[in-house]
């Protein structure tokens, strides 16, 4: 796999050269009109150079071929990076056999049909994509995710999907095949990373149209220049013929040079590389975009639906405070709470023990003679019985009625505490005890969802980028609101059902917004399919993976934010290089126009602001610059323009300054420097 950050290794350039040369085939090159014209120009100058050889003509010819080659090189390098990954995927796609469930017949994996049931045991390769219908197994998915730690897959629930080519490490499972032959996830991945079935994305198509239009204009401008030049030469009969201009007009080599310099070769050369590299950047982050359109849509997303659990919060509620009842000291409550939770293995229970230790210095202790009362759905509380004392913690109503049963009188104060915590979005756990004949409420444990660090800042960033974040949660509205406020999301959907989600997406889309979401469960599938960017977790069900248009192999819901940024970066890179490419033309005119015409109209030498040595050196320098800039920009095209989340206006100002102004200035400098070298070549000045 390519080095992170997209640094370009010169060796990579060299190794891609053969592929680049192959792409000079006009049958493939015509798809890129800009570069196709460069190639026609190169062929034409070759012919002209053969008919009328001169060092200048051959030098121009060579550089025109290099221009076309460099353009292909960009694409070849971009594709080359995917090839490494494709190779490792291919390795996983060895011919495997499948053992059919019940019949135990062994058939070739390639012959599996959707709906077939196959058995896979420890040490065997899963023959195709599907869902586990029976059993549980640890699976090594490193072939596709690159992650060596095995993962657990089990039937039912949202972790039932298995991918063909991965290996079962333990146990035995029965898998229902869901893929069609030859359309396995791995097949699709290989095609994707190789860019084999890469289709142009909508923006790319639009940009191509614009580039074609510009090319056409410059074609017309150069062709129609010819009769004008002939006239200019004729009305100045005293001016001797030059290499660039004779009575027959501008020489073919020079005219072609001008055309190639003017048409947007820079962006034309890099456009497809930018697209491939964008997909590649996702792959580097272990996200597979199943269509380029989705990557682009990610840049356009204006609403992000984020699941609360796992994305915004750490996933489990944790003890955040012990609120004692009147007459009870905090330490007393802490001790009771800890005691009641020592045997409680739920995350909430563990968090109470941890909190008691951190907040009150209570160490874990071994209790002898304790009888643990586990949580049941009927009692809705758990606790411990030690000699002379019973402690219970649990749902407020349950614990309070337990206290009342045993003669206690939980006061109004407790009710207020409980309501207060609920209102703030927390979960109250009431702690009660019974000592001898009396029972009382000791206080309330405040459990709350803990928002991941840095999320608030992240969402503020999103807001600056113009993206609305909506938190999706099964919690009640009160709880949801509290967490939404704490996390700083713009909106929330509480007590969300899959239908609610789908409805929300449709509503957002109705308003013209593009929606992105993550999901893993089968019931997420409709919403994933409806969303413009639907990222399925690799751990999820195959239904989810089928419905979404991206799969996150790391199953990290937070990655949605990165995906959006990559999408934006892709579009920005295209725009920036287009601007750069067009801005470049100004300098090229200043090099070439005086080079051709200063002989007939000496005043035009004033346009030679770079003071280039001779007409030949000026034209050659412009052509060389035009070719070299492509190579110099390949790393940028592959890495993408640096993107820092900020408002559109700020982004534009920065990029305009860098690529617009830079695009105007850079070629003046570059052409001048090249001119300083080429003027010493024979036959150039």
């Amino acid at each position: 796999m390519s080095p992170p950050g997209g640094l370009l290794d010169p060796r990579q350039l060299l190794s891609s050269l053969p592929d680049a040369a192959k792409k000079l085939n006009p049958l493939t090159l015509w798809r890129n009109p800009v570069m196709f014209i460069v190639e026609i120009g190169a062929v034409a100058t070759t012919v002209l150079a053969i008919l009328e050889p001169s060092f200048f003509a051959w030098a121009i010819t060579a550089w025109l071929w290099l221009t076309a080659l460099f353009a292909n090189l960009a694409e070849a390098v971009a594709e080359g990076r995917g090839k490494a990954q494709a190779a490792s995927l291919r390795a996983a796609k060895r011919d495997t056999t499948a053992r059919m469930h019940e019949s135990e017949a062994v058939i070739n994996a390639a012959d599996l049909r959707p709906g077939d049931l196959v058995v896979v045991e420890a040490g065997e390769i899963i023959p195709g994509d599907g869902d586990i219908v029976e059993g549980i197994a640890s699976v090594d998915e490193s072939a596709i995710t690159g992650e060596s730690a095995p993962v657990i897959r089990e039937s039912g629930g949202d972790r039932s999907a298995v991918t063909g080519g991965t290996k079962v490490l333990s146990d035995r499972i029965v898998v229902r095949i869901t893929q069609k032959p030859g359309e396995s996830f791995i097949d699709r991945m290989i095609a994707l990373v190789e860019g084999a079935d890469r289709q142009k994305t909508p923006n790319e198509i639009a940009l191509n149209i614009l580039l074609a239009a510009l090319t056409l204009i410059f074609l017309v401008a150069t062709v129609t220049m010819q009769p004008m030049a002939i006239y200019a030469k004729r009305v100045n009969p005293g001016v001797p013929d030059s290499l660039a201009l004779t009575a027959d007009g501008v020489s073919g080599v020079v005219l072609i040079s001008l055309l190639v310099c003017l048409i947007p070769t820079t962006i034309g050369a890099l456009l497809s590389a930018i697209g491939i590299a964008g997909m590649d950047r996702l792959v580097q982050r272990n996200v597979l975009a199943l269509s380029g359109r989705a990557v682009e849509a990610a840049g356009d997303v204006s609403t992000l639906l984020l699941d609360k659990t796992g994305t915004i919060t750490l996933g489990n509620r944790q003890a955040a405070a012990f609120v004692p009842a009147t007459g009870v000291s905090p330490d007393e409550l802490a001790a009771a709470a800890q005691l009641a939770s020592l045997a409680d293995d739920t995350p909430e229970g563990r968090s109470i023990v941890v909190f008691a230790k951190e907040g009150f210095g209570l160490r874990e202790r071994k209790i002898t003679g304790a009888h643990w009362a586990p949580f049941t759905a009927q009692t809705r509380m758990s606790g411990v019985d030690v000699p002379d004392r019973q402690i219970r913690k649990g749902a407020a109503s349950a614990v309070m009625s337990w206290v009342r049963q045993h003669g206690g009188h939980p006061g109004e104060q407790i009710k207020e505490l409980v309501d207060g915590i609920s209102a703030s979005g927390g979960t109250p756990l009431v702690v009660g005890e019974r000592v001898g004949g009396t029972s009382r409420v000791l206080g309330v444990i405040h459990l709350k969802d803990v928002v991941k660090q840095g999320m608030r800042e992240r969402f503020a960033e999103m807001r600056r980028m113009g993206i609305r974040t909506i938190m999706i949660t099964g919690d009640n509205p009160l709880t949801a609101k509290a967490i939404a406020d704490e996390a700083g999301v713009d909106d929330f959907l509480a007590e969300a059902t899959p239908e609610d989600k789908l409805k929300l997406i449709k509503k957002e889309q109705e308003g013209g917004r593009l929606v992105a979401m993550t999901g893993d469960g089968t019931n997420d599938a409709p919403a994933l399919a409806q969303a413009d960017v639907g990222v399925a977790m690799n751990t999820g069900t195959s239904a989810a993976k089928e419905a979404g248009n991206m799969v996150d192999l790391d199953s990290n819901p937070t990655k949605l934010i990165e995906i959006v940024e990559i999408g934006k970066q892709l579009l920005i890179t295209r725009g920036a290089l287009t601007t750069f490419s067009i801005a470049n033309d100004i300098a090229k005119y200043f090099a070439i126009i005086p080079a051709i015409f200063a002989a007939v109209y000496p005043g035009l030498d004033a346009l030679n602001v770079m003071r280039l040595a001779s007409p030949q050196s000026a034209i050659l320098a412009a052509v060389i610059f035009n070719a070299i800039i492509i190579v110099l920009l390949i790393p940028l095209a592959l890495r993408g323009v640096r993107y820092r989340p900020s408002s559109a206006a700020d982004l534009l100002a920065r990029n305009l300054y860098r690529y617009g102004l830079g695009g105007v200035v850079a070629p003046f400098v570059g052409i001048k420097i090249i001119d300083l070298f080429v003027q010493h070549l024979p036959g150039i000045s």
Partner: protein, 544 residues
């Protein structure tokens, strides 16, 4: 420069009420023109999809061309013909296209070719309606931005009638009376001889000039009653009328963005468009003045000022300002001989047209041309902010870019291929009045003017030859109607879209940043397209 300042002040004061008024005309219910709809047999509230709208535009143009052509060819049978013959077929064809396309290129001299009836009932009528067609198309495009998921863009007949009788007619009427009060002639006098005090004779002529003059400027038409157009004392008797004519020709183009802003519900978007137009226009007017006042060329140096072809009452500066204004709008009226301008001053008039008649351009056509440039800018800039480009909530995707690119392609291709063909054949070259690069500039100017529907000329050129009548006629027709078709298709495509709500991630299109970008992209695209041609014409002549 006080003239420029006073024009700016006047336009700033007027653009708002006029823009708001035009907004009400185009979006409000039918007014007193209702009776006219019945006469036409159209229902003004029947909405048309863009192809129907476009067909109506073309049908109207076709009938107009036939009528204008026919009236010229039958002139000898008409009243008020002043005894002039039927207009020769090539001239009549060229003139019919010219006036219907709002170009008003004139390959004839009005005072010895056209009788009063043809001037007033054929040519001046087109001054009104061709302007109204431009406005109608612009309004249709703006509707494209304002509608959500609609398959229609308005009703052409309603837009045409409303624009003509409720906007152009009243303003032209007031303008005509002001001009008449200041000395512009309005009678039916035929040419007659008078004895001069020096004992010689002089022909005096007359005609329904004031009425025609007002709409000539207001509708950015520019076709003069006389050959020398607004230099002629009967068309433009004094400095005051000169100022007023400049004001009239800038009036609607600079007010229309206000109408646009109101229609899209965001006046500040209109301000941005006006700002782009005004920036380009101010730069151009100032540069034209600088070049003309510096008089940097051999003959002006010998003379002491660039006074050849200019009137004493206007002087160099007001002539330069008029020249810039008439070429920045698609008017093409002239109060001085552009052919005799300094090379760089003349280049400015060329460059103004090459901008595509967008700063502020023609009535309506200036707005839709500028909106196309805004769309192209949004596309390039929008990518740079990391989103699919949007303008006013409408996505600029492949179809929109295709239409905008086609629009943008039309005029440069016409100008350059037309000029190239002319330079490559004997009939083309024979038309030159001047020699060397200036002769080339004349031809470049002719095609630039025709394709951009401006109509002014480096008038030394002999354009009344069949080759030029046909070539320039085709340039005018294609230069007018191909863009209109693309604009209407774009309107249809935009209207069908549902808008995307704006957010912080949306490229703001009302800020100075965006204004600067549109200006920059316009100038760069135009410079890149035309630099070789300009280098061989005015630059070759003007830089020493």
């Amino acid at each position: 420069m006080l003239v420029l300042a006073s024009l700016v002040v006047a336009l700033v004061l007027v653009h708002r009420p006029l823009g708001d008024y035009m907004y009400r005309v185009y979006t409000g219910p039918p007014g007193r023109e209702r009776a006219l709809y019945r006469l036409l047999g159209v229902r003004p509230d029947t909405e048309q999809p863009w192809p129907v709208y476009a067909r109506a535009v073309l049908a109207f143009a076709l009938v107009s061309v036939l009528v204008v052509y026919g009236l010229q060819r039958l002139q000898n049978w008409l009243i008020l013909s002043l005894g002039f013959d039927a207009v020769p077929a090539p001239v009549a064809w060229n003139t019919a296209i010219s006036f219907v396309t709002n170009t008003n290129w004139q390959s004839y001299a009005g005072e010895n070719t056209m009788g009063h009836l043809v001037q007033m009932s054929a040519l001046a009528v087109q001054n009104f309606v061709s302007a109204a067609v431009g406005m109608a198309v612009a309004v249709a495009l703006v509707r494209g931005f304002t509608r959500r998921g609609s398959d229609t863009v308005g009703n052409f007949w309603a837009d045409l009638i409303r624009g003509t009788v409720r906007i152009l007619l009243p303003i032209a009427f007031v303008g005509a009376l002001i001009l008449a009060a200041a000395g512009v002639v309005q009678n039916f006098t035929a040419p007659h001889e008078v004895a001069t005090i020096a004992g010689g004779t002089q022909h005096l002529t007359g005609g329904p000039i004031a009425g025609q003059e007002a709409i000539k400027e207001l509708g950015t038409n520019g076709g003069g009653f006389y050959n020398t157009n607004s230099a002629h004392p009967f068309e433009n008797p004094g400095p005051g009328t000169n100022w007023f004519e400049i004001f009239l020709l800038l009036l609607i183009p600079f007010s229309f963005p206000r109408t646009f802003g109101r229609m899209v519900g965001q006046p500040r978007q209109g301000h941005a468009i006006v700002a782009v137009m005004a920036t380009l226009a101010l730069l151009s007017v100032i540069l034209t003045n600088v070049f003309e006042l510096s008089g940097d060329a051999t003959v002006p140096h010998a003379v002491g000022a660039a006074m050849e072809g200019k009137e004493v009452r206007f002087g160099v500066s007001d002539s330069a300002t008029f020249a810039a204004a008439t070429t920045l709008t698609s008017t093409g009226a002239t109060n001085s001989a552009h052919d005799s301008f300094t090379p760089l001053g003349g280049m400015m008039t060329l460059l103004n047209m090459m901008l595509g008649e967008v700063a502020p351009g023609g009535t309506g056509s200036g707005l839709y041309g500028m909106l196309i440039l805004a769309i192209l800018t949004v596309f390039i800039a929008g990518l740079m902010v990391g989103r699919t480009p949007e303008y006013l909530g409408k996505r600029i995707s492949a179809r929109e870019i295709k239409l905008a690119s086609l629009y943008f392609l039309v005029t440069p291709v016409l100008v350059l291929t037309g000029t190239g063909l002319a330079m490559a054949n004997r009939s083309g070259l024979a038309a030159m009045h001047n020699t060397g690069p200036h002769g080339f500039s004349e031809i470049l100017y002719a095609f630039t003017s025709a394709a951009n529907n401006n109509g002014s000329a480096f008038a030394g050129i002999t354009a009344d030859t069949p080759w030029y009548e046909v070539a320039l006629g085709l340039c005018m027709a294609f230069g007018r109607f191909l863009p209109i078709i693309f604009v209407l298709a774009l309107a249809g495509s935009l209207a069908a879209q549902k808008p995307v709500p704006a957010s912080a991630g949306t490229l703001p299109t009302h800020r100075p940043q965006f204004v600067g970008m549109v200006v920059g992209i316009t100038v760069i695209l135009v410079a890149l397209t035309f630099l070789p041609a300009l280098a061989l014409g005015p630059l070759a002549e003007g830089i020493h």
